[in-house]
């Protein structure tokens, strides 16, 4: 069985982001970029499944500018067998990404597609679900535990939902999106980094995959949330009441 893992290159989780002065988006110049943490978890799970003998190959795919190759190299250094880079300089929204992944799935024929539950830059939490819908495959999102049954071709997945944990059984092929508690991703070790240098990364374009990338959503403006105002010391209860009434309008 082949596992396809989608990984996204995002602004590093620990970086303090700033909005660009022209309000077109977040400033990504000169900030540290790395693999989306949920995608790391997805890749780690795929690798563990392969190491348990349930899969033959783990393929990492990333969609974006040329620097995505770095992210794919990280994936290869963790242990993925090969990478696919769909090169584009446009920033795509989840639906377009889902269409691209659908095309790829039709080419690669994986038994499982793993994605992170959401990307930390847009927090959309849509791509995995859309891929499953486009492919007509079952989906198990927010996975906190995945157990495969090779003979029956099913996966039993514990999902983290608002009310607690829900256990689903899905037929393969399926789409699984990963949540934080699923696993702790491995570090990229030097021997693996060395092996990764000889692993192939295939370059593709959206035209190759015959995907219509026209988006029906246009981002108009990105602004920072209003800054928290500092507190004010009041000198008496009367002043407090006056402020509550006239400034905060809560009394």
């Amino acid at each position: 069985m082949k596992i396809l893992v989608a990984v996204k290159r995002v602004v590093d989780y620990a970086v303090k982001i700033r909005v660009k002065p022209d309000k077109t988006g977040v400033d990504t110049q000169n900030v540290k970029m790395s693999m989306n943490p949920f995608c790391e978890i997805a890749l780690e799970e795929a690798l563990r499944i392969k190491e348990a003998g349930f899969a033959k190959e783990v393929v990492a795919v990333s969609i974006g500018p040329s620097q995505c190759v770095d992210t794919l190299r990280t994936g290869l250094a963790m242990g993925a067998d090969r990478g696919i880079h769909v090169e584009t300089n446009t920033s795509f929204l989840p639906l377009t990404i889902a269409k691209i992944l659908k095309s790829l799935a039709e080419v690669e024929n994986p038994g499982l597609i793993f994605l992170g539950k959401q990307a930390i830059d847009d927090d959309c939490n849509q791509t995995g679900q859309m891929v499953a819908a486009l492919l007509g495959w079952p989906q198990a999102t927010f996975a906190s535990k995945v157990v495969l049954d090779k003979d029956k071709h099913i996966a039993t997945v514990d999902r983290e939902v608002d009310g607690g944990l829900e256990t689903l059984c899905v037929d393969l092929p399926a789409v699984i999106t990963t949540d934080l508690r699923l696993n702790q991703p491995r570090y990229a070790s030097l021997p693996n980094i060395m092996k990764a240098k000889s692993k192939p990364i295939k370059k593709m374009t959206v035209q190759d995959l015959k995907v219509d990338v026209k988006s029906d959503i246009e981002i108009l403006e990105v602004t920072e949330p209003p800054k928290r105002k500092s507190g004010v010391m009041v000198s008496s209860v009367d002043e407090l009441i006056e402020k509550l009434r006239n400034e905060a309008h809560v009394v």
Partner: protein, 553 residues
Amino acid sequence: MMMQRLRRSEEFIRFGCESLINLRPNKNSVPRSVSGFVTHYDTKGKLFESNVGNHYNTHRCLGRNLGMLQQYKCFGSSSASQIERKPLFSSLDSKDVSSFKEILGDKNVVEDEERLETANTDWMKKYKGSSKLMLLPKNTEEVSQILQYCDSRRLAVVPQGGNTGLVGGSVPVFDEVIINVGLMNKVLAFDEVSGVLVCEAGCILENLATFLDTKGFIMPLDLGAKGSCHIGGNVSTNAGGLRLIRYGSLHGTVLAVTANGNVLDMLGTLRKDNTGYDLKHLFIGSEGSLGIVTKVSILTQPKLSSVNLAFIACKDYLSCQKILVEAKKNLGEILSAFEFLDNNSMDLVLNHLDGVRNPVSSTENFYILIETTGSDETNDREKLEAFLLKSLEKGLVSDGVIAQDINQASSFWRIREGITEALQKAGAVYKYDLSLPVEEIYNIVNDLRRRLGELANVMGYGHLGDGNLHLNISAADYNDKLIGLIEPYVYEWTSKHRGSISAEHGLGVMKANEIFYSKSPETVAIMASIKKLLDPKGILNPYKVLPHSLFSH
């Protein structure tokens, strides 16, 4: 204020608790700074005599009034050296207090016992003075007036900043008046082209770093105490930290200081100025004994976006040295940190801290952290990988990992910096901060291990890139036999190899009498002359830095 509150709650917990409480201000702050914190903790060299028992961490250096003669017995010293209060110093009287109030205003003359309690005690709760007065000047002019008054009245003073030093240099020994520059905390100027920052001495290092961050710059130094320490104190103690390997010491980055022994205004922002003797160097590292730094002009560095961190394992110390040489050659201008720790340190951390795991899958004898900082992400990453892979092939490195994001990097640093915390949890600890030739660094660890045998666990780690070892001895309890075996053996060993008994923390009151292990008598005599020249009455931070024998009249 935060530190004071922390200390108050510590008062309650302390009596029930055997282990030293971790007073680290920012547990979850960016790793590198906390690493530097480790160096600050490490100079608790001399340790406690057994009669202190369970309350070793509550002992104070007692000052007992025997009539006019006040004695100071510090349990921390193995030679139980007794310092005597110099009878020549005047005692504070009410006229002095009112004169100070005239200069500073009522609010900034502190006689409140609670605040004095905090100001009298050092960060490690190892040294405590009995000052009755703390002054908070707001500007250089006020500092100058206070000092002139104290000089005329022969009142001893202690300059104080963030009070995070580890050698008892920032707190009074007896009743010296505390001059705390905490109110002088303004940034005066910042030139975005040259990167020169001019600020008052009471600016907290972390605040400066935050300010610079918005401008795209960084401070040239970084240490664990940055949430509390003042730049004036950093300069006065020539603080080291993690960025030393990359940006050099404060002697190189500080452009000028205003110091007020007798009002020396040398404040300038020029990068190059060869007009006469460069006196600022006297004040950098003199620990407040030659003058009080009131303003600092410092060269800051642009913030670079590409930071990479590798955690590698080696079989022996010789490999560590070779890797250091190779790293400097191959990583060159992007190398920004090079730290090492031995297996005992790693075990200690894994045993005593939660949520840490060994980044490399195998257990080895030595681990090294290599950090690079540069402007080109892809280029730096390739350079680091190429260097590490070559080292792997040559057999210098047996295993290693490279952090793929900032979180992984934090977890690597957590191991290196967690050693201090782990040491505290493990029981009694004797800390030494030594500078040695790189090839000798681990020999002292091995020698001490042989010497102490089963009595204690010896750990070695530190800034390998700077030749700075943090030697730590961990035992179940403090005991005389152990300290007798450690001191003066460690100092003599260091001295024999022409090392320094205090690499970064300074001498303070803790090592004031040990300077001869690292400096010749002739050199120290000249230091004493300079001290007499700049501070004839000896009122600035007495009993510290230089041996007491030089000043007994």
